[in-house]
Structures are given as structure tokens and as C-alpha cells.
Subunit: 154 residues, 2 copies
């Protein structure tokens, strides 16, 4: 794999030449389901990476927050995302900015995979998971409670 | 326009809520044709911008080079691009890394618009245009000469 090659062709099904399909994160480190990670660009002089995350139908990312900012564009499929106190439906090419220390989670619909690009600093802090108190606070918002229940955190 | 909003929906025809469609660069500053620019993300803490450039059919970007690096993903349409001494056909989701001080130009096919995402440092040097000698050197490569001729630099 060599993300510094000048030309890397797109292949079928949101794969690319010279881009490895990686585990989303270490198994057991946090709750998530059926999600993969591909690092598309990590040129040191840019200071940012561009990654592509893809969730299978009903798959979801980890509910987490961190000091660093995420800049997201949906690339395929439909789903729902939580950012702070907002739950929104998302579709291809929608843009989502995740501010610092803001709870976030993405979930694909049942019918199709959902994938998104995420621009992020190469040097960044480790994500934080919600405490039981954090989850209680989030669940006081009915839409968030419904979103969290639908993600099958079990 | 407010690129810091958390959610900015994609609209028809590769436009977005709260994203301005801008001139590619100042008129008369360099040769280009039928190309627009939209800045999708410019969050200061990221240090990078993500822009979307779109060329109408037969439109092209400026033939130029610079110290900063570009990380490009084609988002719509088909066309041809020059990077250094290589001329390549490109299609949606292809990835192109443009190294420092490397001649580059994108051109859309006749049949359709071509658009691409470009990740770039917020702080960056000004692009350089080719001298007559630079153009002569480029034209010694037959594929590059054909590419430059097809772009109608007149």
C-alpha cells in the first residue's frame, strides 16, 4: 500500500488501488458494528488525513467525542447521525462538521451501506467514551434516546 | 455562507447549503476555462481546506505548479489530467496526489462536467505559471503536447 502514488484508481464497491481496507479500530476497545476504514491520503506536508469509513447496513460507528475536529462528507448511502444534541438524516454529499468535544455517532440504514469521507488532523487526541452519567444526560433528549436505542448498543 | 455549521445539506447539481459558488481565480490572472470553486471546509484547527472544483464540458484548470501538495478525489464526470510527466484518464473516486513543484492541469471531457475534491493546506504558496521554456520542455513529451493542444490554450 502506498498512499503517496500520484494516481490511485477507484475500483468497484468503494475500494481503491494501493489503499488497504482496515479495521475501524481495535476490537473490544469501544462499541461499534460492521464498519471499516480506508486511509486515502496521509501526505505529511498536509497535516491532515482523508479517510473513508464505511458501515454495512445497520452498522454504526462508536459514540465518542474528542478535542479534534472532524470534517465529514457522506459519499454513499443513507443513514442517521448524532452530533451534539442533534440527530439528522444524511444522504450522499451532505457535509457535517463535528466540533471539539461533541458527542458523535453515525449509523447506516437497514437497506444499504453508508460511507463517508472524514478529514482530520494527523496529530490528534484519543476519543473519549461516554460515562453512564453522560449517557443518562444524552438520553434525556427523546430523539437522542431513540437514536441510541436504534443503534443496538448491546 | 457559514462553513462552520454542523449540518450543510447537499443540493442538486453539486451545490450545498451555506457554500458559495466562487470564481476559480481572478479573471485574467492565468489561463483557465469554465471552472468554479466551492470551499466545503475551512475549519482553522484542521489547517487544511477541502474544496470542490467543477469544470463544465471542455473546461480546464490552470496549468501550474506550487510548493504545496494537493490531494484530489474525482467526484463527478470524466476527464484527463496532467501530473508531472504523466497524462491520465480519470473517473469518479480516482485519487490523485500532486507533489510539490509538479506541473498539473485538469480537463473535463466534451460530454460532461467534471468535478473533484481537493484537500490543501490553508497556508500555501502562490501557484507558478510555466515560462515559454517550461512549455517547450513539457511539449517534448508527445502525450503532454497532445493534452495541452486539446485544452485549447488560446
Amino acid at each position: 500500500m502506498d498512499t503517496t502514488k500520484r494516481f490511485r484508481a477507484a475500483r468497484e464497491n468503494f475500494r481503491w488501488d494501493d489503499v488497504a481496507k482496515l479495521a475501524y479500530k481495535q476490537e473490544g476497545s469501544a462499541p461499534f458494528k460492521d464498519i471499516s476504514r480506508q486511509v486515502l491520503f496521509e501526505e505529511p506536508s498536509l497535516g491532515c488525513q482523508l479517510r473513508y469509513f464505511e458501515m454495512q447496513p445497520r452498522g454504526y460507528s462508536t459514540l465518542e467525542r474528542h478535542e479534534h475536529v472532524h470534517a465529514v462528507m457522506i459519499l454513499r448511502g443513507h443513514g442517521t447521525c448524532l452530533v451534539g444534541d442533534e440527530v439528522r438524516r444524511v444522504k450522499p454529499r451532505d457535509l457535517i462538521t463535528i466540533p471539539r468535544m461533541t458527542w458523535q455517532q453515525f449509523r447506516a440504514d437497514e437497506a444499504e451501506a453508508m460511507g463517508f469521507l472524514c478529514m482530520v488532523n494527523q496529530a490528534r487526541d484519543k476519543p473519549q467514551l461516554p460515562s453512564a452519567d453522560d449517557l443518562d444526560a444524552l438520553r434525556r433528549n427523546r430523539r437522542i434516546a431513540d437514536f441510541l436505542d436504534a443503534a443496538h448498543h448491546d
